[in-house]
Symmetry: C2
Subunit: 210 residues, 2 copies
Amino acid sequence: MSGRREEILDAAVAIADEHGVDAVSMRALADRVGVTPMALYRHVKDKAALLDGMVGRLLTALLPTDPAEERTWDERLRALAHAARRVTQRHPWAAHLLFSRPAVTPDGLRAVDIIYTALIEAGVPEPQVPRLERLISTFVIGFAASEASGRFAPGAGDPRGRRGHLDDGELPGHEALGPWLGLPLDLTTEFEADLADITRLVEAVARREG
Amino acid sequence: MSGRREEILDAAVAIADEHGVDAVSMRALADRVGVTPMALYRHVKDKAALLDGMVGRLLTALLPTDPAEERTWDERLRALAHAARRVTQRHPWAAHLLFSRPAVTPDGLRAVDIIYTALIEAGVPEPQVPRLERLISTFVIGFAASEASGRFAPGAGDPRGRRGHLDDGELPGHEALGPWLGLPLDLTTEFEADLADITRLVEAVARREG
DNA sequence: CGTATACGTCTACACTGTAGACCCATGAGT
DNA sequence: ACTCATGGGTCTACAGTGTAGACGTATACG
C-alpha cells in the first residue's frame, strides 16, 4: 500500500533515463533513495522484479488519460501506438523489456483491451481478434525497440561503406535500390505509413468475413 | 583468419543453449574452451562483442543453404521468416539480441537483400521497399522474441485468473471475447496466418502504384 | 640468428546481487 | 501497562562478474 514502492521505482526509472539501465544497480538505487541497498528488498523481491516494476510504471503512463471516446477505432489504435512509441523514446532502455515480461499487469491488460475493442468495432471476426492484437502489439513494440536500440540507425540499412567485402553481385537487391538507400529516414512518418498499412490489413481481415 | 574465434563463439552458443545466456560468463566460457578467461580477449574485444559474435554465428545458419531460386517471392519470404523463427526456437536467448545489434554483418545484409529482391519482384514501388523490409523484419523478429521470452505464453493473454481485481466492466474487450480467450494457441499456425496477412499487405502496396 | 606475431597466464580491482542476522518504531490486543 | 506483530532499515559477508596491465612462450619469417 505504501507509496514507498512507487517512490523507489520512480527513482530507478530516473537513474535509467539519466545513465542507462545498466546503471541501475541496487547500490546506486539505494544511494539515490537515501537508504541501504538491502532496504530495497523490503519493497521489491528481486532485481528482476525491480525491472518489472519499472516497466509497470511506464505502462501506466501509456494509457490514455482522458477516455476520449469520441474517436473512431483506427484513431484509438493509432493513438495507443504513438503513445507506446513516445514512451520508448523517452525511456529507450524500456523497449526490449516490454518483450520479456508478459503484459499481465492491470495496465497492460487495459492496453490490450483497447486493442481488442478497436478490432471488434472494426468488424474483425471475434476468433481472429486475439491474433491480430498480438500481430499489432508485436509490430509496435518491435518498431519501438528497433528504434530505441539503433537497429534502424543510419548506417544499418545500406551504407555502401558497410558492405565492404561483398561482391556487388552478391547483393542484387541493394544494388537495384541504390538511389533509395542511404536517404535519411524519418521514422515518425515511416511509423505513420506502417500504421496506415496495418489499418488496411485489419480492414481486409474484417471484410473477408465480417 | 584463425578458426579459433569461431570455436570460441560456438562454445559460447553451446553454453547459452544449455544453461541460458546469463551463464555465458568469461570464466565459464574460458573453462569450456580450456583456457584462462583473459585469453578470450585475444579473440573478442568485449563481452558485448562476444554476444554480437554469437548472433553472427546464428545469422549464418539462417540463410538458405541452397539458392532455391525456383520459388515465388512470397515463398522465399515465408521461407526466410520460418528460418528465423526456427533459429530463435533453438536459441531462445538470441531473440532479443537481434533487436539490439543492427544487421550490418555480411550475413545480415544477405538476409535483408533476400527481402529486398522479394519485394521488388512483388512489384512494390522501389522507394517503399526499404520501409516494407523494416516492417516485415520488425514483425518477424518481434514475433520470435515474443515467443521466445514468453510474452505469448499461456496466462499472458487473458486468463480469467490473472485479471483478478479489475472490475469486469473495466475490460469490455476481454469480456466480449470471453469464449475465444484462453484457448490453447498454436503459434505455428498463427505465424502462418500472420505471414499470409502480411503478404496481402505487400500485394496491396504493390497494387496501389505498381 | 633475431624479431614479430599470436596466443596464453597470473594478479588485481572495482563492482554486482543478495542471504542472514540484528535493530527499532509504531500500533493493536489483552 | 505489557506483550507482540509488523514494516522498515542497517551491517556484514560471500560468491561471482568484466577486464586492465604486465608478463611469458612458441611458432614463422626476415
